[in-house]
C-alpha cells in the first residue's frame, strides 16, 4: 500500500519533471533539423524559474478569476497527466479516472483558460479564446471517438487495461487502429498548439491561438501556464505511447527492477516521439485559421470511421 502510494507519487513527479525536458528536446531537435544550434536542452527549466521569480503585472480590469485560473489549469493538467500510465500500469489511482475522464479533465483546463483569455477584456484574448473553442469543439469529439475505438476493442476505457490488452496477443493489425492512431495524432497536434494548427514559437498576433489567449499573463502565472502546456504535451505523448507502443511498460507490483526498466523504455519512447514531432513540424507549413475545421473534421471523421470499421473487422 505504502509502496504503491510512493510509486504513484513518484510517477506524478516524473511527469512533472520530464515535461519541460521533452519540450526543450523538441525545440533543440527542430533547431538542429533546420541547421541551427538552438537553445540548450534545459532552457525551458531556466525560463520557468526565471518567470517564477518575476513579479506579476496585472491589468486593472483583471478579476480574481484571472489570478486563480493558472493554478487550476496547472493542477487539472498535472492530475490528468499523472493518471496516464507512463512507465507502469495499474498504479494506485489509475482507476480514479479512465480515458474519458482524462480527456474531460483537459477540457476543464481549457475551459478555465479560455475564460481567463476573456477576463481582461482585450481583443487578443478574445481572438485566442474563440479560436481555441472552435478547435476544441472539433478536437474533443474526435478524441472521444478514438477512445471509443480503443475501448470497444479492449472492452474497457481504463488506460491500464487497454495497455494490457494491446500487449496481449488479441490485437492484430487493424485498419481501425491505424485510423485511430492518425486521428489521435492529429488531435494531439491541435490540442498542443503545434504546427500546422498553431505555432508555439510565433508572436505574430493574428495567427496566435494559445499564445493570444495567455497574452495578458506574466510572472508566476505565465510560468504555471507554460508548465501546464509542457505537461499536456507529455500527456499526449504518454497516451500514444502507452496505447500504441505498450512495450516494456511495467505492470503494477512487479518490483523496482521492472519499474526502472519501464522508466528507461518510457524515456526511449519520449525521445522517439519528440523526434518525430520535430520532424513533422519542420516538414510542413502552418494553416490558415479557417482551414482548421477541415483538419479537425478529418480527424473526427477518421475517429468515427475507425469506430464503425471496428464492427466490420470484428465479424471478419
Amino acid at each position: 500500500m505504502i509502496l504503491e502510494l510512493a510509486v504513484q507519487f513518484c510517477e506524478m513527479l516524473v511527469v512533472l519533471l520530464l515535461a519541460p525536458l521533452l519540450a526543450g528536446y523538441v525545440r533543440t531537435v527542430k533547431a538542429r533539423l533546420v541547421g541551427r544550434r538552438g537553445p540548450p536542452l534545459l532552457q525551458p527549466y531556466r525560463d520557468l524559474l526565471r518567470l517564477l521569480r518575476k513579479e506579476v503585472v496585472l491589468a486593472h480590469s483583471a478579476s480574481w478569476f484571472f489570478r486563480g485560473a493558472p493554478y487550476l489549469v496547472f493542477a487539472a493538467t498535472w492530475v490528468a497527466a499523472a493518471l496516464v500510465p507512463t512507465f507502469a500500469t495499474g498504479l494506485l489511482f489509475n482507476y480514479a479516472a479512465d480515458m474519458i475522464a482524462i480527456v474531460a479533465l483537459l477540457g476543464t483546463a481549457r475551459f478555465i483558460l479560455a475564460l481567463a483569455g476573456l477576463d481582461v477584456g482585450t481583443s487578443f484574448g478574445g481572438i485566442g479564446s474563440s479560436r481555441e473553442l472552435m478547435i476544441a469543439s472539433l478536437a474533443e469529439p474526435a478524441m472521444v471517438m478514438v477512445v471509443f475505438t480503443l475501448s470497444l476493442l479492449a472492452g474497457s476505457t481504463q488506460l491500464s487495461s487497454i495497455a494490457g490488452f494491446m500487449q496481449g496477443p488479441g490485437v492484430g493489425l487493424r485498419v481501425s487502429l491505424a485510423m485511430a492512431l492518425v486521428a489521435l495524432v492529429m488531435v494531439a497536434i491541435a490540442e498542443n498548439a503545434r504546427i500546422p494548427i498553431d505555432n508555439p514559437a510565433t508572436h505574430l498576433e493574428l495567427t496566435m491561438v494559445h499564445e493570444a489567449m495567455i497574452l495578458e499573463y506574466s510572472g508566476r502565472h505565465l510560468a504555471l501556464i507554460e508548465a501546464a502546456s509542457f505537461v499536456k504535451l507529455l500527456l499526449y505523448v504518454s497516451i500514444i505511447a502507452c496505447v500504441f507502443a505498450p512495450w516494456g511498460i511495467a505492470a503494477s507490483g512487479q518490483g523496482l527492477g521492472a519499474y526502472l526498466a519501464g522508466l528507461a523504455a518510457y524515456a526511449g519512447k519520449l525521445a522517439v516521439a519528440g523526434f518525430l514531432l520535430a520532424l513533422f513540424e519542420t516538414a510542413i507549413a502552418k494553416m490558415r485559421v479557417f482551414r482548421y475545421s477541415d483538419f479537425l473534421g478529418a480527424a473526427l471523421m477518421l475517429g468515427v470511421l475507425a469506430t464503425l470499421l471496428l464492427f466490420v473487422s470484428r465479424i471478419a
Binding site: 480590469s61 492530475v79 476573456l118 477584456g121 482585450t122 487578443f124 474563440s130 473553442l133
Partner: protein, 670 residues
C-alpha cells in the same frame, strides 16, 4: 401516509394561489406566497425523499371522488413518481427561495403570484396521477398556469406571441397524449394505469402510441423539431418561472414519456431505441448550436435546455434498445444515466437561470452585448454561475460530467447489440453526444465570459450591484449540489436503484461500499471514475503550487494597464462580443444548419462611417414545418371566409343544395 401528505402539499399550493388573489395589491403578498410555496415544496421534497429512500416504498394508491365521474381521480406513488417528485420539489423550493428576494423586482406581481403556486401544484399532480384523465387534466392545467406566467409580462413585444405559440403547442401535445391514452385504454375505456398495465397493446398499436408519446411529451420537453416554442416562451416568463419551466417542467414531460413508454407500454421493439436515441442526438447537437448563436442570455439557457433534453432522450433510447434485447444490466445503466442527468440538469439549469435572473434584476439587461465585467460588481453571483456553467459543460469534477460519463459507458456496450442498425447507429449517437458536450463547453464559455468577464459594455453593467441574500443562498445551495453530485455520485446512483429496478427489472451494483467512493457501473477492470479523488487531487495540487510559489518564489503583484500587444484601447467596444466569440463555430456549422449568410458592408474609401457586418440565420424547422401549417390554415380560412359574405339568396341556395343532396342520398340509399 406519504401520498396523502404530498396531495396535501399540492392542495396547499392551490389554496395559496387562490389566497394570492385575495392578497392582490398588498405589499406582503409576494413574501407570503413565496414563503408558503417554499414551505410546501420543502415538505413535498422531504416526503418524496422519504418515499424514495425507504427500502419498502409505502406508496399505495389513493382515489378521490372528483374528476371524471364513475372513474374518479386516482393517485399513486411509486419509485419513479417519487424520484421526479423529488426533482421538481427541489426545483420548486429553490425557485421559491430565490423568488423571495427576486420577487421584489416584479412590476406586475398580480399576474405572477396567483399562478406560481398553481403551476407547482399542477406539476406535482401530474406526477401523482394514476389514471389517464387525471394525468391529462393536471398536465394541461400545468401548461395553462405556466402560460399565464409567460403572459405576465405581456406588454413586452413578442411575449404575447410566445405565450400563444406555447399554449397552442401544449394543447397539440395534449391532444397527442389523449389519443395515445385512447389507444392504450382500448374500446373498453379502462383509463386507470393499473388497468392499462394489465392489457399490453399489440405491436402496431404500441408503435403508434410511441410516436404519439414522442409528439406529446416531446413537444413539451422541447424535442427537436417540436422545440420551436420553448426558447420563446421560457425566457418570456419572470426569471424564477423560467427556471421552473426550463429546469423542472421539462422533467415532468420526460416523466410523462417514461411513464407511458417504459411503464404502460410493455416490452419495446428494438427500433424504438434507434428512433428515440437518434432523435435525442440530433436534438442535443441542434439545441447547443442554436444556443451558441444566441446573444440573449435567457434564450441561450433555454436552447441549452433543448440540448440537455436531447441527452436524456439519448439515454432513454439506449435503454429501450437494450431492453428490447433483454440486456437488462445495460438498460439499467443507460436509464440510470438518463435519470441522473434529469436530476443534474434540473439543478444546474435552475442555478444558471437564477444567475441570469440576478443579472437581469440588477442591470435590467438580458442582452449579453450590453453586459460584461459583472464579476467585479457581483462576485458571488459570478462564482455560483461559474460553477453552474462548468457543471452543464460536463466538466469534472462536477455532476454534469458524471451523467454523461455514464451515458458514454452505456454507449460502449452497443457492440453487444444484435441489430446491425443499432451497432452502427449507437456510436454515431455517441459522436453526436461528444460533439454536443464540446459545443456546450464553448457555449458556456461564451455565456459566462461575455456576461461576467471582460469590461462592462454599458452603464447599467458598470453600475450593477450584487443581488440580495435570498437569491444568493438559493444559488449557492444549488452550486453545492452540483459539486456534491459530482464528487459523491455513488450515493445518487444508489438512490436511483429502486426506480431503475422497477422499470428495467435490474439495476447497477451498489456503489456506496466501494473503497474511495469510486463508481463502477459494470466492472472495475472495464471502467471506473472517482470524482472525489479528482477533486481532492486538483485542490491539493493547486493549493500546493500556490503555497510553494508564494513561499519560495515571488508573491509580488503590480497593477497596470493591459499589455494588449502594446496597443491597449480604453474603449470596451474593442473587446470580443458575444457574436464574434462564436463566429468561428458559426462559420463551421452555421452555413449548412442555419443557412447562415454574412454580408459585410464596407464604406467607400474616405468615408469615415463604420463598416457593417450583418449575419442572417434561418430557422430551418420553422421554415419547413411551422410556417407551412400556419400557411395552410390561413389559406383555408381565407377561402372559407368568402361564405360569410354571400347574399341571402346564396345562403338559400346552400340550404336548397343540402336538401336536394340529402334527398338524392335517400333516393339512392333506398
Amino acid at each position: 401516509m406519504i401520498l396523502a401528505g404530498l396531495l396535501g402539499c399540492a392542495a396547499a399550493l392551490l389554496l395559496t394561489g387562490a389566497a394570492a388573489l385575495a392578497l392582490h395589491g398588498r405589499r406582503l403578498a409576494a413574501p407570503v406566497v413565496y414563503g408558503v410555496s417554499l414551505v410546501a415544496t420543502t415538505i413535498g421534497l422531504l416526503l418524496a425523499g422519504r418515499a424514495l429512500f425507504s427500502p419498502d416504498l409505502p406508496g399505495g394508491t389513493l382515489s378521490l371522488p372528483i374528476g371524471l365521474p364513475w372513474l374518479g381521480a386516482h393517485f399513486r406513488l411509486d419509485a419513479l413518481a417519487a424520484f421526479f417528485l423529488l426533482v421538481i420539489n427541489l426545483g420548486g423550493a429553490m425557485a421559491s427561495l430565490f423568488a423571495v428576494g427576486y420577487g421584489a423586482h416584479e412590476e406586475t406581481p398580480g399576474r405572477v403570484l396567483p399562478f406560481f403556486p398553481a403551476f407547482l401544484a399542477g406539476m406535482n399532480l401530474v406526477l401523482m396521477a394514476a389514471d389517464a384523465f387525471t394525468f391529462l387534466f393536471s398536465w394541461e392545467f400545468m401548461s395553462l398556469s405556466s402560460w399565464a406566467l409567460v403572459m405576465a409580462h405581456h406588454r413586452r413585444p413578442g411575449n404575447a406571441a410566445a405565450g400563444y405559440l406555447y399554449l397552442l403547442m401544449a394543447s397539440f401535445g395534449t391532444l397527442a397524449l389523449l389519443l395515445a391514452f385512447g389507444l392504450l385504454a382500448g374500446p373498453s375505456g379502462g383509463y386507470e394505469f393499473a388497468v392499462i398495465r394489465q392489457t399490453p397493446p399489440g405491436a402496431a398499436v404500441s408503435a403508434v402510441v410511441l410516436v404519439l408519446a414522442l409528439i406529446g411529451a416531446g413537444s413539451k420537453a422541447g424535442l427537436f423539431p417540436l422545440h420551436a416554442w420553448l426558447p420563446l416562451a421560457h425566457p418570456a416568463a419572470p426569471t424564477h418561472v423560467s427556471a421552473l419551466m426550463s429546469a423542472v417542467m421539462t422533467k415532468v414531460a420526460l416523466y410523462g414519456f417514461i411513464r407511458i413508454v417504459f411503464d404502460l407500454l410493455g416490452s419495446p421493439a428494438w427500433w424504438w431505441g434507434a428512433a428515440v436515441s437518434l432523435l435525442g442526438g440530433v436534438t442535443a447537437v441542434m439545441g447547443v448550436l442554436y444556443a451558441l448563436m444566441q446573444n440573449d442570455l435567457k434564450r441561450l439557457l433555454a436552447y441549452s435546455t433543448v440540448e440537455n433534453i436531447g441527452i436524456v432522450f439519448i439515454g432513454l433510447g439506449l435503454s429501450l434498445a437494450f431492453q428490447a434485447n433483454e440486456m437488462q444490466a445495460a438498460a439499467a445503466l443507460a436509464l440510470t444515466a438518463a435519470l441522473f442527468h434529469c436530476f443534474n440538469h434540473s439543478v444546474f439549469k435552475s442555478l444558471l437561470f437564477f444567475g441570469a435572473g440576478a443579472v437581469l434584476g440588477s442591470t435590467g439587461e438580458r442582452d449579453m452585448e450590453r453586459l460584461g465585467g459583472l464579476i467585479h460588481r457581483m462576485p458571488r453571483t459570478a462564482f455560483a454561475f461559474l460553477i453552474g456553467a462548468a457543471a452543464i459543460s460536463a466538466l469534472p469534477p462536477f455532476n454534469g460530467f458524471v451523467s454523461e460519463w455514464l451515458m458514454f459507458q452505456a454507449i460502449l456496450l452497443s457492440p453487444n447489440l444484435p441489430q446491425w442498425l443499432l451497432k452502427f447507429l449507437v456510436p454515431t449517437v455517441g459522436a453526436l453526444l461528444a460533439l454536443s458536450a464540446a459545443l456546450a463547453a464553448a457555449c458556456f464559455v461564451k455565456a459566462f465570459g461575455i456576461t461576467f468577464l471582460g469590461r462592462a459594455r454599458s452603464d447599467v453593467a458598470r453600475d450593477a450591484v450584487e443581488t440580495d441574500g435570498w437569491s444568493i443562498t438559493a444559488m449557492l445551495v444549488l452550486a453545492a449540489l452540483c459539486l456534491l453530485a459530482g464528487i459523491l455520485p455513488g450515493y445518487f446512483i444508489d438512490a436511483l436503484a429502486p426506480v431503475i429496478d422497477a422499470l428495467t427489472g435490474s439495476s447497477l451494483p451498489r456503489q456506496e461500499q466501494l473503497d474511495w467512493l469510486t463508481i463502477v457501473p459494470i466492472a472495475q477492470s472495464r471502467s471506473s471514475y472517482n470524482g472525489l479523488l479528482l477533486f481532492f487531487f486538483i485542490a491539493l495540487a493547486a493549493s500546493l503550487a500556490a503555497e510553494a510559489i508564494h513561499r519560495f518564489a515571488s508573491a509580488a503583484v503590480r497593477r497596470s494597464a493591459p499589455w494588449d500587444c502594446g496597443f491597449p484601447d480604453p474603449s470596451p467596444a474593442t473587446q470580443y462580443t458575444a457574436g464574434s466569440l462564436s463566429q468561428p463555430i458559426r462559420r463551421v456549422f452555421g452555413t449548412v444548419l442555419f443557412r447562415a449568410s454574412e454580408e459585410v458592408r464596407l464604406p467607400p474609401p474616405g468615408d469615415a462611417s463604420p463598416a457593417q457586418l450583418r449575419v442572417r440565420l434561418h430557422d430551418i424547422p420553422w421554415d419547413v414545418l411551422y410556417a407551412p401549417v400556419a400557411g395552410v390554415v390561413g389559406f383555408v380560412a381565407g377561402r372559407l371566409n368568402a361564405l360569410q359574405f354571400l347574399t341571402i339568396r346564396g345562403y338559400l341556395t346552400l340550404v336548397f343544395g343540402a336538401l336536394v343532396a340529402l334527398l338524392m342520398v335517400l333516393a339512392v340509399w333506398q
